[in-house]
Amino acid sequence: MAKVPVQFTLNGSEKAEFVDSGTTLLNALRDKIGDTSPKGGCHQGTCGACSVIINGELRLSCLTLAETCNGAAITTTSGIAEGGVLHPLQRAFLDTFATQCGFCTPGMIIAAKVLLDHTPNPSRDEVIEALSGNICRCTGYEPIIQAVLLAARANSQNAA
């Protein structure tokens, strides 16, 4: 199988890999680069567990070919804490008990981050809409919605 080179930044650091043509970004991140924070729940674009941010946009890494990510800036949940301080969303997920088995959590946090990056003070409906592509089977959606709203409140306090 043809190997193709691919270069991108992952959470701010440069990565360069040769991948088999057709390799998904999810598999490249997990198996080649060793960032296992995006999870594979369905590998068919329906669960959201593999969500990552590519150039500021929410993307499903199981439906993105690694070879199309040349020059991209990619962010995953493992890279959003700064200087050992949890991101406000991570803190809020902890504080509101919004994670049970934790398998959906990295994808949820990424989807929520994209929302807050674009809409710092979302309404409850906007939060629900933003998380609608992410499936959670254990926690129940209410604590997750509360976590995102809590993190957004922290945003509005910072702005004030």
């Binding site: 997990r30 198996d31 060793g34 960032d35 296992t36 924070s37 995006p38 999870k39 594979g40 729940g41 369905c42 590998h43 068919q44 329906t46 669960c47 567990a49 995953t76 949940t77 493992s78 804490a81 949890l86 991570q90 803190r91 997920f93 902890l94 008990f97 994670t99 088995c101 934790g102 398998f103 959906c104 959590t105 990295p106 946090i109 499936i135 959670c136 089977r137 254990c138």
Partner: protein, 455 residues
């Protein structure tokens, strides 16, 4: 919510300081940072991928298996069939003396449900394993199948599982689990009303977000480490030891973090064959269900049918109850004989009924084997029992909650299994529910208590 300390004031200890206090969960920092290690987060150099060839038929005899084309497929390292498995016929609960062994790791001579594992293919990549699996040729002679429990119990129905010899599990109490408490039929004759209803349910899939699987690493000296998301670590370890005829000391299981299970990860399905693959190739092996497999192959909650007949008096007392329960095990036992047995224990409900008669059957059909799921064996039973309670209350024109107060068991009451009730607290729960739901009941029920001094 207010904590009512007046309940059981004379028996309670008040030096408890944990309940009601928030405690951080030890695993959530790992979850929110993406650091928690699930089994599939282990990736070893040279790891092989295992894919199953599965039966497309519900019931068929296997005439022959031809792996020669698949063998030649680039990337294929090893192909396993039934003859490679040291102890191929097993059953999970054999560890607690619930037999007979009735299920094959890889099908041998016959398949009994659509999706049953027949041949395991190990290859360098997932894709190669998948493509090679498609090249395995299995010649089937399709047999008549049975999908309905009542059909399966009829004389002359196709025999699903030869290891049982009939389409139901044979308990030591006979063809079903039984509870007998007085002469139900005689008491039915004295009831003001009789109500017989049947209730049934479909199989339910757990659909955990993380699919079932394991990753196995050979550690040399015939020892293996198996990273797995099983919910039943020691059942899995001990059954694997039986299936592979290896001492447990050679097997090191690492688990603990499960990406959702709900009872769906208690069966011993992926680990033995993955370890066998690692043993025969000397390489790490990953066996992970695709989403499609998770939905179609993993064992669901059993379909159940419950027939309840109650004799009730105008004043609200249930005087006799007769229940026949059927649990659809699918083609193999797994945890279903236990589920049906739990049903037998549960059908009297949390009520004091002086005459009870219960039969519960564990039935074999050519459907996906069912197994554990969150309270299996009693959950559908509770649905049926409580719908029945509402219907009984309506029948005699009584408030459904007051009707339950009349029948609720209290400390000291004799249960149908001849165990006196202890620590019931049901009355108190219902009083609290009546307040919380703003569903008032007559004063006399609010004055009742489950706690009977000296009981």
């Amino acid at each position: 919510m207010e904590l009512r300390k007046s309940y059981f004031a004379d028996v309670r200890k008040d030096d408890l300081h944990e309940i009601g206090q928030p405690r951080p969960r030890s695993d959530s920092p790992g979850h929110v940072t993406g650091k928690t290690a699930y089994f599939a987060d282990r990736n070893f150099p040279g790891m092989l991928h295992l894919k199953m060839v599965r039966s497309p038929h519900h019931h068929a005899r296997i005439r022959s298996i031809d792996t020669s084309e698949a063998e030649k497929h680039p990337g294929v390292v090893k192909i396993l069939t039934a003859k490679d498995v040291p102890h191929n016929v097993y059953t999970i609960l054999i560890l607690i003396q619930v037999g007979p062994e009735d299920e094959t790791v890889l099908a041998d001579g016959k398949v009994r449900w659509k999706g049953e594992a027949v041949v395991a293919v190990l290859a360098e990549t997932e894709r190669a394993a998948q493509e090679a699996a498609a090249k395995v040729k299995v010649d089937y002679e399709v047999l008549p199948a049975v999908f309905d429990m009542e059909e399966a119990l009829k004389p002359g129905a196709p025999l699903v599982n030869e290891y049982h010899g009939q389409n139901y599990y044979l308990y030591d109490s006979g063809e079903c689990r039984k509870v007998r408490f007085g002469d139900v039929e005689a008491v039915f004759a004295e009831a003001d009303h009789l109500l017989e209803q049947s209730y049934q349910s479909s199989p339910i899939e757990h659909a955990p977000t993380e699919t079932t699987g394991c990753v196995v690493m050979p550690e040399g000296n015939d020892r293996f480490t198996c990273y797995t998301n099983t919910q039943a670590m020691f059942f899995t370890l001990d059954n694997t030891s039986i299936i592979l005829q290896m001492p447990g000391s050679k097997l090191h299981f690492v688990g603990g973090t499960v990406g959702g299970g709900f009872g769906g990860k208690v069966d011993v399905i992926v680990e033995p064959i993955a370890i066998l693959g690692a043993k025969l190739t000397g390489r790490p092996v990953s066996f992970v269900y695709s989403r499609e497999e998770e939905m179609q192959i993993s064992s669901p909650r059993a379909a159940e049918k419950v027939v309840i007949k109650d004799g009730v008096m105008k004043d609200g007392r249930i005087i006799a109850r007769k229940v026949t329960g059927y649990t659809d095990a699918g083609a193999y036992s797994r945890h279903s004989p236990y589920g049906a047995q739990k049903g037998a224990g549960h059908y009297p409900g949390p009520y004091t009924i002086p005459y009870v008669w219960i039969d519960t059957y564990c039935v074999y059909t050519n459907r996906t084997p069912s197994s554990a799921m969150r309270g299996f064996g009693v959950t559908i039973g509770d649905f049926a029992l409580e719908v029945q309670m509402d219907k009984l209350a309506r029948l005699i024109g009584m408030d459904p909650l007051e009707f339950r107060f009349i029948n609720a068991y209290r400390d000291g009451d004799m249960k149908a299994h001849r165990q006196p009730t202890e620590g019931a607290a049901l009355i108190e729960c219902m009083q609290e529910a009546s307040r919380a739901a703003n569903w008032p009941v007559a004063k006399k029920y609010m004055a009742m208590s489950s706690y009977v001094k000296g009981a």
